[in-house]
Amino acid sequence: MKEKEKYSKLIDTLRRSTPELQGKEGLEEAIMESIRRVERQRGIASRADRILFSWVEVSWMRRTLSTAAAVIIGLFVFQQVSMNRRINQLEEQVVTAVSATNVTNAGEPAPGAMERVLLNILARDRVIDDSITVSRSDLEELLRSYMEMSLEEPGQIREILQESDRSDLNL
């Protein structure tokens, strides 16, 4: 038998032979049961939705909550601004206290802590008139020299500061 004939015979037989469904009633019940189960699950989900979120459909409730949300956000922004202002004030006070300590107190400061405080204040991004930009390493070097000098020759620092005040006055 040729290939085409074999193919045709096989296809014809398959076309004529219809698969038969056994246990139709059982299948019908299984389908209806599955549908009921799906509907029950959907019912539970929609009931949960209604219980949790039906209150958003009340108009005065929606308005109240929107207003409350706006107020809370406003309070948060206000709090952040106040905190930032306070932090800036404290930093300025620290600078003043540190400079006062350096000039009047010839005792031994803790170099590590002071260096860190001064570095943090000076390296912060602040817009100041007649400011200059220096690298972190140069600044560290400057501070280290200042600390050494203030420990070994405090008198020399006083002279430098007085000299600098005099040249500012001349300007």
Partner: protein
């Protein structure tokens, strides 16, 4: 009850009408699913899932359309997904049995009908080398007798794609017949 009236009642949630729809279309659904899947259990599952989908989607069904064509699409989509899942977890077979084909060709009684197991084994042996798309197009065209246009409507594939897949399927089955049967 007429078909359109039946569908309309089902859309309104009438369970009795839906049971009637199941009785009218379950043979059709099983025939299509079995020819694709070649396994009774899997085919019954597909039929069940398809009817559940019909119940859930009847609201979106356009009553001007043919219900059978719409239902065809639901069944074929499920078969396609199942065939792809089956391909991913492919069991390496030691060799496809072509005994059924050989027996059939040598059978002198041309009107003999086969039972489900024989049909399943024969289709499986002929289509073992086909991709899911090729198998679907082959079954719809050669066994279900659908035109290319109907196949395009059911599968959503383009006409060229259908022709190409069908040609591939025929060539592969032809090679199988040439070499093994």
């Amino acid at each position: 009850m007429k078909n359109t009236q039946l569908i309309e009642s089902c859309r309104k949630g009438d369970e009795t009408a839906f049971r009637s729809l199941i009785r009218d279309y379950s043979d059709f659904a099983f025939r299509v699913a079995f020819r694709m899947m070649n396994d009774e259990e899997e085919s019954r599952d597909i039929v069940q899932e398809s009817f559940i989908a019909v119940w859930q989607k009847l609201g979106t069904f356009d009553p001007d359309r043919e219900f059978e064509a719409w239902f065809y699409r639901i069944i074929v989509n499920r078969c396609h997904d199942a065939l792809r899942r089956r391909n991913r977890v492919r069991v390496v077979s030691l060799g496809t049995n072509h005994q059924d084909a050989l027996k059939l060709l040598s059978d002198s009684d041309p009107s003999r009908k086969m039972d489900n197991r024989e049909i399943g084994r024969l289709i499986r042996s002929l289509t073992s080398r086909l991709s899911p798309k090729q198998k679907i197009v082959f079954v719809l065209s050669e066994l279900e007798g659908l035109s290319h246009e109907d196949i395009a409507d059911v599968t959503g594939m383009g006409r060229d794609s259908i022709k190409s897949n069908l040609n591939h399927a025929r060539r592969r089955i032809g090679a199988l017949i040439r070499n093994h049967i």
